[in-house]
Amino acid sequence: MTVSSGKTTRLNRLFNPKDGRAVCVAADHGWMSDPTPNVLELKRILGQVVLGGADGILVSFGTALRMSQFFEGKNSPALLIRADWMNMPRLGGSNLSNILPVVNFKKKATSCAKDALLVGASAITIYYFIGYSDEFEAINIEQAACFAKECRKIGLPLIIEPMAVGGMVTGVNVTEILIASGRIAAEIGADALKIPYTNDVKTFKKLVDEAGVPVLVLGGAKSDDPRDALELADEALRAGASGTVFGRNVTKAQDPRKMVEDICALVHGGMSIDEILGTGIKKRGRLRPVAVNCTGCQLCEIACVHYHSTDFDQSSHRLRIEYKFRPNEPRISKPIVCPLCEKCVDACKEEALTLGSGGYLVLDQSRCNSCGDCVTACPLDLVMCDRQGIPLFCDMCEGDPQCVLWCKPHAIVLTQPKGAEKHVS
């Protein structure tokens, strides 16, 4: 594919020429939906995003005009303009986003390539809907081709965002449709794609390979855990994606700057998620229950069991969820976790059970005589013996407690209490 010099120049502004990758932030929300808090505070958030080092920011035409200061200067992010509008998430606040009937579904071009170029855009982004009626798809293709033609004339890169929604899309065929849509978009003349992750490296690799143009993966709804967005980006990169266009996962993040920096570290810096988030390194600390957050789902127990065994059961977990039944009330639950009181260590006459140098309990199996003293010593009843008489106790998953990782409501947290150091020999 020959690309005009204008396109190359502008694509180089977006994609880092060293690694060919880009970290973009989508901030075109509020353009088609209700103003949500992240939209109202866009100025502050975009300031953070720029400081975080984003390569590009996707905004509506109006925002591009009003907030042009973010795109000035040599090292400023590339400006991407959303050039079309649709009514699908217009009533987001009342949840009507996904139920507009096909006949009411509208998509319109709102600015042309030339206008975008005049305000300094490095690319424009448009939707391409696939999965609705054939007529609607035909209109979409026609419109996209029109944009492609305009862009070609003036050397402006075109990013197409395929959206697989509508009656023809099911959970079974959505991946297949997405893969096809990527190729169709490239054939129309897209210079890059903005596309959702297929939740599977293998199929996303197929998508990237078949598209043949750089693929930027989008994030979707905001997860409470920043790790989720990073994992998604990591998998997409492994599948061959050229970067990210995360929106809500950045703009709604507690610290948008940190989030962008983290994504940059992943995309450009080649760091692993554990390195970025400081996880994976065995941390000294204690488990602390936060009963008010507990929903009683027992995922912590499942994670605990499954870390220590490939099977699943509900009897060998080393922490537990305790339910309280009061008259006329549903159950209330709270986690009971090992506070590292070391009563079991004191009770072990053979000195088989000790607090190891990692800050968690370790068992020297050669010394253990299965006397069961540790079981009776535990004031919380968390130590038990398995069928061979070997005590099962909370070993904090050797410093990386799975219960903390799996409990997303944060009913179990890892804390560093004062004076934790003094226990360590």
Binding site: S223, C297, D313
Partner: protein
Amino acid sequence: MSLKDRGYADNVLRVNLTNQRCTTERLDPDVMKLLLGGKGLGAYYLYKESIPHADPLSPENPFIFVVGPLTGTSAPTSGRFGVVTKSPATHTFLDSYCGGFFGQTMKFAGYDAIIVEGASSNPLTLVIDNEQVHLEDAKELWGTTTAEATKKLKAKHGEGFQTVVIGPAGERMSPISGLFNDERTAGRGGAGAVLGSKKLKGIAVRGTGSVQVHNPVEFDEAAWVAYRMLRMSNQIKRLNDDGTANILGLVNAAGALPTRNYQEGQFEHSAEMTGEAWRKEYWTRSIGCYGCPISCSKIAHAKTRDVAIDGPDFETIWAMGVNCGITDKEAIIYSNYLCDLYGVDTISVGNIVGFVMELVQKKMISAAELDGVKAEWGNGDALVALTEKIAKGEGIGELLQKGVREISKHYPGSEDFAMQVKGLEMPAYHPNAAKGIGLSYAVSERGACHLRGSPLTIRWRPKEKPSSFKRTNPILRSLTQRFCVTS
């Protein structure tokens, strides 16, 4: 490759109540290749073992508890169990599902299915402690509420046991009765009545076994991605925040929220009934079922009465609120509480009350007939009074507990607004707003059911104003007549 390392327990418990014998049998590996999950397994056994034209409340009707191969693993939302039997409400296939903590315990005890057959002459409970199975006398449990029976069973056998019980309504064989695991319910279709006819008050089960998956590494990867997808989903976030009632505003906006016994498709006070409103006024915390990160269940404390419930969920808010024109949340909470206590289905009860209110509106029933209850639209006290009568089967409740179809037989001319298909009361989606819903209700094997295909989002009728919908839907009527299996 055995079934055991593919998630199954490869064991079925057969309990014959007539001769009080409990036996176990293996699954047939060739058959299992053809069956999908717990429902498939239950349908297979029901098909194999039921007799044509058997009365659902006779000893010939088997009652089957089932779990799927994923139950007990870390697959999200897999902790549910199902019951499969012939329904006393519809006289055809019934499968009803329930969250909570019974499903995985049954699996860990080592059973993919529990088939209850025959009938006992005296009340019994089934006690399963892994491979130790026995039936014991339940004289002192018979007649007790679900909460009391659960408490007594747990006190007797220990907290490590999970229970399912029926309430007094199930004992009376009311076709709207369900069965209860703590506060979770397999409510629809009258499963409780079938157990009541067999005089089985409940089951207590403890399981300390394990479940294997075939390829733990790939399984864990897939499960982790599935959990991430749940966390990064708008819809799930809404479920988490506002419970299942998060969709009430949407259904109302589409004109699909049946109001005053399906007379209209929009409720003028819907803003007071949304999940958001409930969260602000009543819900104190979220609770989750086994292995489910969504926690759509919410706990609501009544302010004027000393009760708290798990709920109300979307269907209950609709049935007891919108469908009766009621906005009195205290009344809804208390009625929900009564339904849970006595073991009846809230959707059916709300439907029945709505139907009675329309009878009153049309002056087809007198207040005297209703034991003095002034059942007018929007009257929360009437809802509580009628719910209590239905739950206890007292006074007019003796008739009302039989369901809308039976009641309408006593009031000639009321068939046109008896909102049921095959004898099962309709759920919270108005067929007039989306024709597909009507088709789904008409052809569903379970009667009017909200879990069988949800063509809700495919096509609303776009041109008409939702409030102009009329209830008499000729399409639905003809579909119902054409496809309904009537007993």
